[in-house]
Symmetry: C2
Subunit: 436 residues, 2 copies
């Protein structure tokens, strides 16, 4: 079976104005890749009739499966449903299941149903309807028969019919609501079964090895030459650099895919070793929580310059409460003394950003929370506060365990939010490596 | 002057595989909109020759200005520079400024220059070069003369030359490196001056009023009818819902733009009042820090279920250290007792997730940090830990000031990270409204 040609069309003027981040692209591309369908093209356009119809028309001229997001809600800028029905020459008809669902949605919450939600009950005739488990607007899937679909738009004079040829096999057009908390469960529980029914997935293997502490060029220098024999057999390599971390991505398709990716992974593992903190979706904080859980050990934090960024990442992990006792965000010097027991004399003599204070913060946090490990960070996030001896970006990280307390110094020269993330990554990775 | 038709082309197989979030789209769309150029289309495609050339060729057939991101680095999947030079029939030539810049970049850091960075010194002949202030790969801008450009690719047999007509006025193709910390300063300091030189901006006004605490349908019900007279005069309204917050976006272009948007803003302000926490780029945490700074008051936090999310947001604000003294992330009950002075008997009698414990946490934080205000949160983030009386999503938020301590209860039924964000938003917004 040939690969399914998938295109995404994200609608929303707020996307084109840059008011919101398009998280749908990553999420849907990821889910589809896991199903063996790599998206070939993603397009974002404004909520205007001509832009939406042109983008969908072009996608229909190329793709087997088109997924649109957004424009199904109750407000006046939600026009995707109507435009696509129009483009495909389909009437909108009221769906009673949708009506009952929406009425139930509001009565359960004890709120009156806003009048505008009536528009959400209209669906193109013949469409499959996905009731919205976490909201009101349903998702829709329209099958466009082999060689049979016609674009009414050209006839209706909405747009000149420029390009598409009739497809050789049926196409599917899936329309999903814009809010991620509505789109995601709908895709997983309602769209995936449809796709599995319609398309037999081809073998596609993707493995990502996630590293931290080495730059992108260096990572490539270390692994590229050794991987060449596998590349000649069809393995593809990709690198993705983020602040403080580099992913190595190995992909292959076809009958040898699993073998090729497996050999590639073993080779990269043997070269990069402990710099690899995880695979695929692993996040550093999840790996740290897993390690602590397996070892039945606990963690406490004393964060100054990271301002809660380490705690925020740790507590995103379900089950973190089993191993994470808590932390102190000690922004003020007085908080370092009162809550962590840092000696005022140490603060006076060495300054808040110093090896000695980091050490006392870690020891203090470990004692106050009675934990196995404590991580402490103190530094200068910027943009202000730097000095010639301690420029913006200076950080001391301390790790205390039952055996010892150690301090490392880094110079993380980034903007403020990135500084916090990179410093949090270094801290968590040190703890991870201490538990190897 | 007619509007400039701008298209973005984001390249990267990691985008199509869903391995990374495309932050360039939002960032560049936002910056361009602020310059009066609303992006009409954004396309993402994989790092393959045919996909990149097809997307750029199509964009050249429609747009005045094409901006590409990614594929300029030193690794083997960085092929955009070469492909576009090829498509435009331009030779790649070594640029000595770029070579000197890269050599300097590595020598400043005391690191050897990786051999692969040589490819970054090659630029299409005649291109404008943007030296990379925060990295090695330069950005590039190529002017394609009115009616004169030819696509060599068709001749070279790379792709059939399907569509484009020769443009009536010069086009610009700008190529930017993929890492955000390289792309962003390069765009602001090197690309913007070029665009201001080439295009006289038309008047385009965009105002976003940011609200919290009201649902999207309700926001529209409140404002839509009153705005209709302005809509008939050319005002456009958009709504953007995020967990816990809804943006109302007013836009207009042309001579009346400022007047129309100004009248619309005054109307929405009069209707939604205190639910509006800020305008445009204002983030709730910035507004809270500004208010505290203006009032010379200080804040402390006691976070249980939010796990540092409030501190993380507050400390992203430059200058937060003037007003934010610190916080305790009290995940374990023992930490609530030891660090915040919560009475063990209160914990035993009411449970950690209770109005009484929230109250004692806020009072304890205010006392320990000696702050003017203290916010405390305790709740059940899920997915585990719910009971029939206190289901997952139950939250108690307490706000202590010199005058009183109050507690509010919420039911925030979301996934774990969203629960943390929504609860942090409710907490910060309560503090904001307390300072009105």
């Amino acid at each position: 079976m040939p690969p399914v040609n998938v295109e995404l069309v994200n609608t929303g003027s707020e996307l084109m104005l840059g008011r919101v981040l398009n998280t749908h692209q990553q999420w849907l591309c990821r889910r589809l890749a896991d199903l063996g369908h790599v998206v070939t093209r993603q397009v974002a356009i404004a909520d205007t009739g001509s832009a939406i119809q042109q983008a969908v028309r072009e996608a229909l001229g190329r793709a087997d499966l088109i997924i649109t997001t957004g424009g199904l809600g109750p407000t006046s800028d939600d026009i995707t449903r109507e435009l696509i029905a129009n483009l495909l020459g389909k009437k909108l008809v009221e769906n009673l299941d949708v009506r009952a669902h929406i009425e139930n949605f509001f009565s359960q919450r004890g709120r009156p149903r806003p009048a505008q939600t009536s528009v959400e009950t209209l669906v193109p005739e013949g469409a499959e309807v996905f009731l919205n488990a976490t909201g009101t607007a349903p998702g829709l899937a329209i099958k466009i028969g082999a060689g049979s679909w016609e674009l009414k738009a050209g006839k209706a004079g909405l747009l000149p019919d420029t390009s598409p040829v009739s497809p050789a096999s049926p196409q599917w057009l899936v329309m999903l609501p814009g809010p991620p908390r509505e789109l995601r469960p709908m895709f997983d529980h309602q769209v995936v079964p449809l796709l599995q029914h319609v398309y037999a997935a081809e073998v596609f293997i993707c493995r990502t090895l996630r590293t931290t502490g080495i730059g992108e060029s260096r990572v490539q220098e270390f692994v590229e030459a050794d991987l060449q024999p596998l590349v000649r057999r069809g393995l593809e390599i990709g690198y993705c650099a983020r602040p403080g971390a580099v992913d190595v991505r190995l992909t292959a398709s076809g009958a040898d895919a699993r073998q090729l990716v497996g050999e590639g992974e073993a080779l990269v593992q043997s070269i990069l070793g402990a710099s690899i903190f995880g695979l695929d979706d692993d996040e550093l904080e999840n790996v740290v929580v897993q390690r602590l859980t397996a070892r039945k050990q606990t963690l406490a934090l004393a964060e100054s310059c990271t301002g809660g960024a380490i705690a925020q990442r740790i507590t995103d992990v379900p089950g973190a409460s089993e191993v994470f006792l808590g932390g102190v965000v000690s922004y003020a010097n007085s908080a370092k003394e009162t809550l962590l027991g840092v000696n005022p004399e140490t603060l006076r003599q060495y300054g808040a950003v110093s090896e000695a204070v980091a050490r006392e913060m870690a020891l203090g946090a470990r004692k106050k929370f009675n934990s196995d490990y404590a991580l402490a960070v103190t530094g200068i996030a910027g943009p202000g506060g730097g000095t010639p001896e301690k420029p913006v970006g200076t950080v001391f990280i301390a790790l205390a365990s039952s055996a010892r307390v150690e301090v490392k110094q880094f110079l993380n020269f980034w903007d403020r939010p990135t500084f916090k993330q990179v410093t949090a990554t270094q801290s968590l990775d040190w703890l991870r490596q201490a538990m190897l």
